[in-house]
């Protein structure tokens, strides 16, 4: 696809009487892993919800795959994984995935494939409530993979996971991007920034910088991305 997959101009979101995103404009390129980084409370989740179309917005425009965010035809093309795992605790991993696969009209084999991707083969017949926090968030992630979405919006998908699994998941994200999917992955830990193709740095509801990790290092003269973030955030 030519041009950005997600195009946001002058997005404004108010929540509970406060302005969370005052005036945000950005673009996300296709077939890449874009990292959305910033401290908690910087508006990452609100931005993601707006892109998926579940957030009430006060103004501005959001185009996803050339369509206004949240229109019915995007619901099978865009997948969203919330920060806290949103799956049924009283069903097994397989029952959860089968249900969502049927809702999405996912192809045969999608359930098994997703289970392998998130490495839950051994827990597949376990009731989700009895899984660890990290395992539960992998079930939630697997759900998002079922319909082979073109755009994947993942809110802190690697929190609480062990380093090996975290590396594997990042490899999976890049494999999906290589296959043509566009991924937006949020994180509040800067050491994950280096794994992204492109970065969006947020602070206080505003975009403070965007570009590749190399660009960020070069433009700030800092090798460490955390230090680079600080340099950008404190720039007048």
């Amino acid at each position: 696809m030519a041009g950005p997959v997600i195009r946001i101009s002058h997005l404004r979101v108010d929540r509970g009487g406060k302005t969370v995103l005052p005036d945000l404009s950005l673009e996300i390129e296709p077939a890449r892993v874009t990292g959305l980084l910033g401290p908690s409370g910087s508006g990452k989740t609100t931005l993601m919800r707006a892109i998926v179309g579940v957030q009430l917005v006060a103004g501005g425009e959001i185009d996803v795959l050339g369509l206004p965010a949240g229109v019915p035809s995007l619901r099978s093309r865009v997948a969203y994984v919330t920060q806290s795992p949103s799956v049924y605790g009283d069903l097994t991993v397989r029952e959860n995935l089968r249900y969502f696969a049927r809702v999405l009209a996912a192809p045969r084999g999608a359930v098994d494939e997703a289970v392998v991707t998130v490495d839950l083969g051994e827990q597949v017949d376990q009731v989700v409530r009895t899984l660890s926090g990290g395992e539960r968030s992998r079930v939630s992630l697997a759900t998002a993979l079922l319909g082979r979405p073109e755009v994947l919006v993942l809110d802190e998908p690697t929190v609480g996971l062990d380093p090996v699994l975290r590396r594997d998941l990042w490899n999976t994200f890049h494999r999906l991007a290589d296959a043509g999917a566009t991924l937006l992955v949020s994180s509040h830990v800067m050491d994950e920034a280096g794994r992204c193709d492109a970065l969006l740095l947020m602070r206080g509801g505003e975009l403070v910088a965007s570009g590749s990790p190399e660009w960020l290092r070069r433009s700030t003269g800092e090798q460490d991305l955390e230090a680079a973030f600080l340099a950008v955030a404190e720039r007048p």
Binding site: R15, Q55, R75, Y80, P85, S86, V87, Y88, E95, V127
Partner: protein, 244 residues
């Protein structure tokens, strides 16, 4: 709307219930147990038991399904599964009908067991046929589900949701004519009772039990149907794709 998604949802709801053995047992055992209690509380007044026993068989499903649905839907809201479903290609009606189908099935089992105990073991003696009571019971269960689904939108915790039972169901139980005929209530209350769905649910059951069919029973059934449609429509408006 899609039949695939509706059926998948009904199956999923039933699977969740099956996992929760204790709730399932309570839903199926409590109504016949309570009816048995009624039978012996009114040991010296068999005519009272014969009058209210039949309608009770059909009122229990309304109450249980109201409770189960309001908690189940509240959980969908608080655990984020509702938001996830709303971001997927799922019509609101798929979700509503999926729930209705699952609970109608459960209500059919519940009412059949309760009716079997009432008409069999407890010797409940009615003019009308037991199957009519079971059939009306299933309709009432769907009414309970629809009311619970709508009201769950106004609860943010499970504590609040269970309080809707005394707040919403008990007054209707008092005013529906089960305990005291409605024309003997204060005129204001009688007027209010005309606006409450359980009044028609009870009236239909009382007529079916007494073997009185005809136009008035049809009106009761239509009124319950309308109450279901209104509650579902209101419930659908509380399923928001976009939230603050």
């Amino acid at each position: 709307m899609s039949r695939r998604v509706t059926l998948a949802t009904a199956e999923r709801v039933l699977r969740q219930l099956r996992r929760d053995r204790r709730t399932l047992v309570l839903v199926l055992v409590v109504p016949p147990a309570l009816l048995t209690l009624f039978r012996y509380v009114f040991d010296g007044q068999p005519e009272t038991f014969n009058r209210i026993g039949g309608p009770l068989v059909g009122i229990f499903p309304l109450i249980s399904m109201f409770l189960v649905t309001s908690i189940a839907m509240l959980r969908e809201r608080t655990t984020g599964t509702l938001e996830r479903l709303m971001s997927m290609p799922l019509a609101k009606l798929d979700l509503l009908f999926g729930y209705a189908l699952a609970f109608a099935l459960l209500a059919a089992v519940q009412a059949s067991i309760t009716a079997a105990v009432a008409f069999g073991a407890l010797g409940l003696d009615t003019v009308g046929p037991a199957w009519a009571v079971v059939l009306l019971a299933v309709g009432n269960a769907i009414l309970g589900m629809a009311l619970g689904l709508f009201l769950s939108a106004f609860a943010t915790t499970e504590f609040q949701a269970v309080q809707f039972m005394p707040a919403v169901i008990l007054p209707q139980l008092l005013l529906c004519g089960l305990l005291v005929p409605r024309d003997r209530m204060a005129p204001v209350l009688e007027a209010v009772s005309w606006a409450l769905p359980m009044t028609y649910a009870y009236d239909g059951l009382a007529r079916a039990v007494a073997g009185l069919g005809g136009a008035r029973l049809a009106v009761d059934v239509l009124a319950v149907g309308a109450a279901i449609a209104i509650s579902l429509a209101l419930g659908a408006t509380t399923l928001r794709r976009r939230t603050a």
